[in-house]
Symmetry: C2
Subunit: 406 residues, 2 copies
């Protein structure tokens, strides 16, 4: 029997009333004759509340005890969802990450999944049960609870879908698909009816919050079709499928990132080693940049600045770093093109965008054009770039037109 | 180095402010040169809130998913306490029941501890860390989280103290010791400065909420001195110690129980088997009684009535039960004497108490005199019995007089 994995985000589970409605939806899906694995996030802002509580007793923001604390959010919602399903007559069982065999590396706060032992889930599915998994968490070594980072429930879902050879993985969220830009900031955005893994991955890595990058990477690696859709409507959503191309537009979309820090280093450091060692040890989001006068640097998130500076200072001598300069509260607009060729075709567009700020050269993303913009101007800049492109673009996304008449 | 186990109840941990104050207290204790294991309950009414949430999605009140849900409360507070301790400069580590090796039987909602593998705790203690354990929970078989029933954190503490051969086990709670009656209902109560295990156990089994009966049984079995004391003051508390006798008063105290159901059975059942099999399978609090006309019966808690009736009906034929009659919403006053001899000495007192209701003959408690009273009269009845006794009692508890001048 076909297995389908469905992931429900925190907004979909904000209240017990919503949990009840999602439970109805899950039962309707099961009645179609599928084996269902449900992955849940913490209810609403439960994770933020836990972070706030921890802030009242500690300045520590990550590590072993934070993972122990934060993982309770998903454990709670998985138990509640299973209780709701059972109340409605379905057979269901809730499982923590550890209970359903999700093994991670020994990294607190941002662990990668290293293996999934699906025997227990499969047993329960074969016994006719809906398996409700607490997302965002796994287990390392001697029963150590490690979390997968924010958005980690997406990763849980995609990884389980891959391991269970699921027919598809539905990511239910508070938006009804992948848009060409964040509709909260940008007017005139368009929803993709289909997008390919690489484009979605790049969008996600550039900060599009709709699906977690690791989840897309898992889905791509195992060629699991993903569907990004709304918990609150029956709209079709966006299909991420190996058999379908992305939209035919040369610009897939653009993303806005705020609260960025820029670090510039001088010295004789072996950059590759420094950056990869730092990323491995801390699991941070970071991108290589180059300043106007050619100094190598890093773009990181403001919230990671303290940790990064501590690390860099500790490893200063070893890498021969002379000086570290940093600025915080920066922002950037990232234009994500369908491929490097499409990016090259849009040269004048990129030149125009430099009106708003400096271009950021980023290694490893040949189809992305990034412009650093001051935080107070970033929304205007993004809207302007967006309009400039979609005003010039002759190839509207056809599938979108067909589906929604936009 | 001496190990001390300290348990802090929910009221002591109601807010992060209180967690911070308790953390200071713990650090002061460590500075005396002891190895500390801290057992924590869920914060304030966290458990009740979780029960309420579950009630919004399910009519189920126990079982596997409830345990998964409820155990998050203690996991949260253990993480927060360890974070608070570390923030204040102490070395600390939080552990779930499973992580610190607490094995239980496979019973959800009311599991007994079957073994504790203390290697990991001992390692952490030897490394100079304060070990903060999530109370109320353990792990059965294949990573199944089983809770120990309400008050289970006491049991966690006493069992850990026994297994670690602790010098003593402090039970910090919202009252400053074991009283001769519940001061919330009865005026003129007295605090015991010392009490022996059996008397405290009987008080606890008769409903005195101050320490969980299983905790006392664990402490007794391994002869671990318990101290019941207040989290909010430095008052001495009540010492439960094998080397010290109980108070010299013939009446240790009295307890009030409400929300009781009385079940009367007719038929040819083998009572012993029936009752022990029922208790084993459901882990309920129950006591044998006998009606006015000699029919055998059970006193159980109202909340367990449905479950008990279901069990009895299912096993009706096997035990040859003909009829089952039940009434709910009952109450009882239990007079706990120091020993059966002291009880016998107070015959007239017991006779007087029958003004309020019927005597309940209870097997296995030769030092307890119980009177069933209607719920609306139970407080008046208890006060009257209390006054009658302490009015007649010539032997005031001497230690109490010395310590507090009462």
């Amino acid at each position: 029997m076909a297995v389908i994995v469905q992931k429900f985000g925190g907004t979909s589970l904000q209240t017990t009333d919503r949990i009840n409605r999602i439970a109805d939806r899950i039962i309707r899906e099961q009645e179609k004759g599928t084996q269902l694995v449900i992955v849940v996030s913490a209810m609403g802002d439960a994770t933020n509340r836990l972070v706030q509580l921890s802030g009242e007793v500690s300045s520590c923001t990550n590590g072993r005890e934070m993972d122990l604390l934060l993982s309770t959010g998903e454990q709670m919602s998985s138990a509640l969802m299973a209780l709701a399903l059972k109340e409605k007559g379905a057979e269901a069982i809730a499982m923590t990450g550890a209970q359903c065999g999700i093994e991670t590396e020994y990294v607190y706060g941002n662990a990668k999944i290293t293996a999934i032992h699906t025997e227990r889930i499969q047993q329960q599915l074969d016994a006719g049960k809906i398996v409700v998994v607490a997302g965002f968490q796994g287990c390392a070594g001697n029963q150590e609870i490690c979390t997968l980072g924010r958005g980690g429930s997406d990763t849980t879902a995609a990884a389980l879908a891959a391991e269970l050879k699921a027919e598809r993985c539905d990511i239910f969220t508070d938006v009804d698909g992948v848009y060409s830009a964040d509709p909260r900031y940008i007017t005139g955005t368009k929803k993709h009816t289909a997008i390919d893994y690489d484009n979605l991955l790049t969008m996600a890595e550039m900060g599009a919050a709709v699906v977690h990058p690791r989840a897309v990477a898992h889905a791509k690696e195992h060629q699991v079709p993903l569907v990004v859709r709304s918990s609150f409507s029956d709209l079709e959503g966006t299909l991420v499928d190996p058999s379908r191309g992305s939209s035919t537009s040369s610009l897939v979309g653009l993303t806005i990132q705020k609260e960025l820090s820029y670090l510039y280093l001088t010295g004789k450091m072996v950059k590759g080693h420094l950056f990869s060692e730092m990323t491995d040890s801390m699991g941070l989001w970071r991108r290589m940049i180059r300043s106007g006068n050619g100094e190598p640097g890093l773009m990181i998130k403001d919230k990671d600045l303290d940790q990064t500076l501590t690390w860099l200072n500790k490893n200063k001598e070893r890498f021969g770093i002379h000086t570290i300069q940093h600025t915080s509260g920066g922002a950037a607009v990232h234009m994500v093109f369908r491929n490097p060729e499409e990016k090259r075709r849009q040269g004048s567009l990129m030149e125009d965008s430099l009106y708003w700020g400096e271009a950021v050269a980023i290694d490893g993303y040949p189809s992305v054009w990034s412009v650093s913009v001051s935080e107070d101007q970033v929304v205007d800049a993004a809207q302007s770039m967006y309009d400039a492109f979609f005003g010039h673009d002759v190839q509207q996304p056809n599938e979108l037109q067909e589906a929604y008449g936009v």
